[in-house]
């Protein structure tokens, strides 16, 4: 019964917050549905990316580039080549960082719940499987199956709403860019160039 000494610790040093997600994707727009189906069926994608991070205190954006690959089974592999060498492996259960010397840092999502929300949003965006995060966003759609953009606006009660004003995914057939707009004026743009994948799905 003297075991409750340390419970106080958890309250103080849990630095961030995360949300449970539930599946509730209620969209009636036919084009939207097709786009989502299309994205979902690309069980494996890979290519190059360029990321520009615009921060108000910096004169120019922080630019990075590299390659990425994604599959529904093994998660997202994000390999930054410039200006530093860093490989990130994101899955639902862990986040692995491999630096230029090959040193691995593993963080279990269970131990670092603060990682969960951002990695889950990122995985959802790259893979186009939006169900897991749909509870946290109001989803809007523009365009048609060939040229589309999906707007994700965080629902007001969520932690994400404190950070992002909106996230815009756009593409044609496959995803071409992600733009994340933050409330305080910073924003991040990621552009993708897809490599053809040998296995082709969804276009009969």
């Amino acid at each position: 019964m003297r075991k409750w000494l340390f419970l106080g610790l958890w309250f103080v040093f849990s630095v961030s917050h995360a949300e449970f997600v539930s599946v509730d994707l209620n969209q009636t727009n036919a084009s939207f549905f097709k786009v989502v189906e299309q994205l979902k069926q690309q069980t494996h994608t890979q290519g190059q990316f360029t990321q520009n991070k615009y921060l108000r205190v910096l004169k120019r954006p922080l630019k990075s580039s590299g390659t990425f690959s994604q599959s529904t089974t093994s998660g997202v592999r994000w390999q930054i080549v410039k200006p530093i060498t860093l490989t990130l492996l994101l899955t639902d259960s862990e986040l692995v960082e491999v630096d230029s010397s090959g040193k691995e840092t593993r963080k279990k999502i269970a131990d670092h719940p603060e990682l969960h929300i951002f990695s889950s949003v990122f995985i959802a965006m790259i893979s186009g499987v939006l169900e897991p995060i749909s509870a946290q966003f109001d989803i809007g759609f523009e365009g048609n199956v060939e040229h589309w953009s999906i707007q994700l606006k965080p629902k007001s009660a969520t932690i994400l709403a404190k950070i992002f004003s909106q996230i815009v995914l756009s593409g044609s057939g496959h995803i071409e860019s992600i733009q994340m707009f933050e409330k305080k004026g910073d924003h991040t743009d990621i552009f993708f160039i897809m490599n053809p994948v040998t296995q082709v799905n969804g276009h009969d």
Binding site: R2, K3, G8, V57
Partner: protein
Amino acid sequence: MTSRWSQTKWVAVWSLLVLCCALYLGFSFTQGIRVETSVLDLLPKDQSDPIKEAAVAAVSEQVQQKVVFLLGHGDTAQAIKAADSTYERMVKSALFEDIQYQVSASQTQEIYQFYWPYRLTLFSDQFLHWLQIGDFSAMTTTAMKRLYNPTSVVNADLLAQDPLFQLVDFLQNIASASGGLTMVQQRLWAKQDDLHYVFIQATLKNTIFSLQTQTSYQSFFQELKGELTLHSNVRLLSTGAIYYAAAGVASAKQEISTIGLGSLLGVIILVVLVFKSIRPLGFAVLSVSVGVMFGLSACLLIFGGVHLMTLIFGASLIGVSIDYTFHYFTERSAVAHDQVIPNIRAGLTLGLVSSCIGYLALSAAPFPGLQQMAAFSSVGLIAAFFSVVIWYPRLVTMQIKPLSPVLLRRVVAVSMFWRRLPLTGVYVLVSVLLMTSVGILFFANSNDDVRGLQHRPADLLQQDNKIKSIMKLSVANQFYLVTAHSAEAVLAKQKQMLPVLAELKRDGALGGYVALLDMIPDASTQNHAYQILRTEMLSPTSVFMKYFNQLGFDDLFIETMRQQYRHKQPQLLTVDHWQNSSLVSQFPFLWLGKIQDQFVAVVALTDVQDLNALASAELPDGVQFVDYVEDISNVFAKYRDLVTLLVIAAYGIILLLLIIRYRWLQVLLIILPPVLAAVLSLAILTLAGVALNLFMMLALMLVLGIGIDYTLFLTEHPESQSTTLVAILLSAVTTMLSFGLLALSDMPVLQGIGLVVLLGIFFSTVFAPLACLAGIKKREA
């Protein structure tokens, strides 16, 4: 002899006193009586080390008031709903002063703001290492990894405030010590067997040892449980010291009523059989309850509360003080109304004095529990004595039928057993018994482990373990106590301990530790790191300038950044800052402040595996390993020995008193029967494989006290031996009935007491007639 008038005066005085006592008790009850239940509260304060004592007290006080709830459900939304309604109920109940449930963003903000002014000197261990080896580019590379990682949340404000992310890193380093709970939706969660548990912790406002707190808490908990099980199949788990305290009280209440009922039934049957009237019973109840009232009042007055063990031990008063009633009535049945008290006064007084000597000897030990029992028992006995001596002659107006001659004859015949044996035979038998028993006692085992003595119901323990397994955490009863002449020196000592702790952790002796040093690095570490960073920051060719330029900060910003480092002396985070912040309430036990010119902190340990390794680790001066469970067990062992000595000392004093009044042989015969009974009982228990503990020695004290009463009465009243024998038998049977029932108790402490008293009183009664062996002759004065 006392005149009629002065008798009336005494009756008035005594009645007034009893009335005052009743009023005081009534008043105390309305105020709420503090009833301690933990065996630990019986223990003496460890005077040899007041700092350690204060530390243990502070830590246990922190812990005692805590209650933990886990609300589990397969569906997280359901679990949250249950937790929300639990939280609402908790707030409404007004039982708790501090409920930790939803973690607000402002709490996180508060921590950040607290550390912010000291950001220039705080580093995670990794950063410290890089600073020490001068690998500054490792620091900038790490910062860049954070910047370019698409999943990390870095905004302009954070970057501008903490461009190397050193404070963020420092805070995350602390947070990683957290354990099995995770934070989701601003609540803390644990998961086991497909159930999601929400965690709530609270501190009870009032002491858990007050019966009022226990009652209101229990009705709160029952209602909560009822509501949760009625509306959903939420699994409610809860633990905390209050459950054990309440269970202790409930169990003791039951035990006390068992003894009470057992005694009462026994007494009623016996009284009716012997006196052929129910009326002596009323008088017995009167004197016994006056005794209990005074005993309780004495404890409340002297100690401000009463311990359950005292109450239970005090219930033995019934066994002793009822003797007075029995002696009165057996004598009354034989002689005239006004002859009774003069006839029995000497015996009663001697009995009272010998019992009080015994109890006083007990209170000579600096042991609050013993002192309480001694106060309760001696004051109670004195009160019962006065009730009999003062009230009875006035109140007992009815005729008591002479005792049945058949009964008297039988009793005397049985007691003649000893006299029928040849005298030398008796001496040989007694000597052999005594020596064999003493011989056996050399093989006696003792077990003073406090864990065996505490009453810990299985269902509570099971729940406790379940919660532990869900939260994957077990905080040890052991800790390191760090003392030094200044707060800073305490931190420095903790720093010196780090390699030892790391080694213990590596060897698997312990799972982890929590120290103030995690939250406040020592001054030299802070300063040293600052100086290294400062030199590099101020150098125009520094790695950091390159980093700032590469990121694209403007020149003004970079200059402002560098200006922060222009002071040679940084602003260090100290324990004082910490103490004056709101954060200190989250970790009250880690820093105990100033105790007797020394500053004291605790390094708490989790998942302790190897006590010996922890105790024998080489630590800096002023650091000691505290294992208070072990300490308490040692204290029990020490006091078991002490009580044994006190018992012997008490007998020595009684012996001296008796020598004034009786001849040597008679003194021996008065002392021998209870001593033989005590030794024989212990020998039998030893043969049965029962391990002796402190409380059994206390019970032995009781046996000796009651036993000597028997022999004294027999010695003092040779002329009415048969009636005295009946009174003794009556009292023995009553005592055995009540205490014999204790032997069946759930509480190990009570069980031991019950066994010892049962055996001891039985043999005391059997040997008591030995006192009449030598023709009774008082020493001529």
